[in-house]
Symmetry: C2
Subunit: 364 residues, 2 copies
């Protein structure tokens, strides 16, 4: 893996493309975040990217991302300044001055928002993240899996409201309280939590995420240029597999309790496939057969372009490729499956890996 050393304007398009695929339908639409970052990089210098190996042990790192329902965030602007206000509130509460930004999740727009925050705050962003994909709930990250304290946790909206959950009796209490507060803030916010040391971040983070997203995006762009299958190219770079090709024939979607929940049905040559989602695509089934299941990554790509379709943009008639990507190993431990396995979403499926892609992930 050749690491990124900075995010410049020309990095945005492939990064957004790859992050969209790693977003498994969620993580927020990369498009508005791309616009915001592109505008910022016209007036700010490129954002330095720091690998986990270079991160000082005593760095003060904060994980940032979008928190809310992607169906709503799609309609909102000004997420960067809102998230910076959350970071500043967290600095006030903790009395620590943040030195580095790490993405909470590499998926979707949440790969780009941290870069905007770093640009606005004059900080570096770390080539890593807290999920290796996107997940819908506050406690579903490698910070929690590693046993780091998630609070205090700050949430800022575009109107200047900032709420801090100072202490919580459990990670799920943080999720419940923060979700309620953010719904009252319009179901869209920028989050800043936890604050950690460089050493803690290196221990807990999924490494090289920005680089992986960029490489996936570059592979898709190269396949487009060569008139090859972009989904196959994304599978090759990510160690995944194209599970099916087909057409979207039905979408059920509700925005309830601060989430976009529902399912999408695909008509394929081998019959119907149904994929359930809660912000992110979680379980893909052909009849009773499970094709892929969280924590593994399930993405729906436009067949022609290889662009990921987020759950809020799924609609009847789209021609798509269904892509499965093995989760990073850190999401497959027993401790991780308790937090991000199918049971954590109310599914009874076995969290068995995607057939045909294991051995293991190419990712650590």
């Amino acid at each position: 893996v050749t690491g990124l050393d900075q995010i410049a304007p020309e990095t945005i398009a492939p990064l957004a493309l790859g992050a969209g695929i790693l977003g498994t339908g969620g993580g927020g639409d990369p498009y508005p975040n791309s616009l915001e970052l592109r505008a910022l990089l016209q007036t700010h210098p490129p954002v330095p990217v720091v690998g986990l190996a270079e991160l000082p042990d005593d760095a003060v790192v904060v994980s940032v991302g979008g928190f809310g329902a992607p169906t709503v965030s799609f309609e909102k602007v000004g997420r960067g300044p809102a998230t910076v206000r959350a970071v500043r509130a967290l600095e006030r509460v903790t009395g620590r001055t943040v030195t580095h930004i790490v993405p909470a999740e590499i998926g979707g727009g949440n790969a780009l928002l941290p870069v905007s925050v770093a640009a606005l705050a004059g900080l570096s962003v770390i080539d890593a993240d807290g999920m290796g994909r996107a997940f819908p709930e506050a406690q579903m990250n490698t910070w929690c899996i590693a046993g780091l304290e998630l609070t205090p946790a700050a949430f800022g909206d575009a109107h200047g409201n900032v709420t801090v959950v100072a202490t919580a009796d459990s990670p799920t209490s943080l999720e419940r309280i923060a979700r309620a507060a953010v719904v009252a803030m319009g179901a869209s916010s920028g989050s800043a939590f936890p604050v950690m040391t460089g050493e803690e971040c290196r221990y807990a983070a999924v490494p090289d995420s920005m680089t992986l997203a960029l490489h996936i995006g570059e592979a898709v762009l190269a396949a487009r240029a060569a008139h090859e299958d972009p989904a196959a190219a994304a599978a090759e770079v990510s160690g995944g597999r194209v599970l099916a090709e087909g057409k979207v024939v039905d979408v059920n979607r509700q925005t309830t309790g601060g989430f976009a929940r529902g399912s999408v049905s695909l008509l394929t040559a081998d019959g119907d496939i149904v994929v359930d989602f809660q912000n992110e695509l979680l379980v893909a089934r052909a009849g009773s057969e499970v094709l892929a299941c969280v924590p593994d990554l399930i993405s729906i790509l436009e067949r022609e372009t290889g662009s990921a379709i987020s759950t809020e943009h799924l609609r009847y008639g789209q021609r798509v490729s269904l892509l499965g990507i093995p989760a990073p190993a850190v999401l497959r431990t027993e401790a991780a499956l308790a937090i991000v396995g199918p049971a954590a979403f109310g599914f009874t499926e076995d969290p068995a890996p995607i057939p045909g892609v294991y051995g293991g992930s190419r990712r650590r």
Copy 2:
């Protein structure tokens, strides 16, 4: 007015009795708060009471109270430590060390909770409050009426969860966000906001509230001992009037959105009276005639004992006196009526004073 100089165990009963009457049906049941304070004062010294005149200009004052649905708080214990955790969180956020506690509201259990907080924190409590009664919403207080910044505002529950609204774009946004967070915390919390200087508190507070509550309670106890009408005694001390006597014949009550909402019907010698409430009793009507209306105080007392009946304890068959007490003048300004007048609760009633008790309040 002879000021209180400390709250000792023997002060609790009359203070709770008077605070219940000033609570206008809300402010939380004084009983569980009385038990908590009584237990604390067995192991802690009496809590010093400081009049507004004695308060140093540079004191760091925090207003504390219960925040949530009284129907729930009635079933919860440990509000004192929960509120202390909110105060500590506010100290961390602001970097200021609190020197004095002022009650957010003198009504109901919220007159006693601040004394418990002061006992636990080793601080003094101020003979004043932020409402001169009880009100249901976060922005309905004299701090807001005086234009003080309400945020940061901290809310702690009995399980150790603490949420801080660090900034809000308006006082009603604070209410909306805090209410949502507190509902997710079980609809019951101890609140700490705002932090203010002694000078600000002296400017904004309703003065001598603890003393008034104590005097009302003492008058009721004296009337009981003398077999006189306790409601008349409470009216005499508070400058109010007994509006009716009757029997509770119907109660509609729902706990929705973190509030106890509903209405109570009284059968009197002159016909039915209906009183609407949102945690607190707000408007009393005999047919289309308004007998009393928020911001004036409406209390329902047990006819025999003069004890206030909180809205969560109203039930069929109770023999009651309906008491009206004029609001302090600070709640009758144009700025105040916009925040705590009938329109703020969705009523179209004219906020005219209770007939027969004005001129003005005996209270400043």
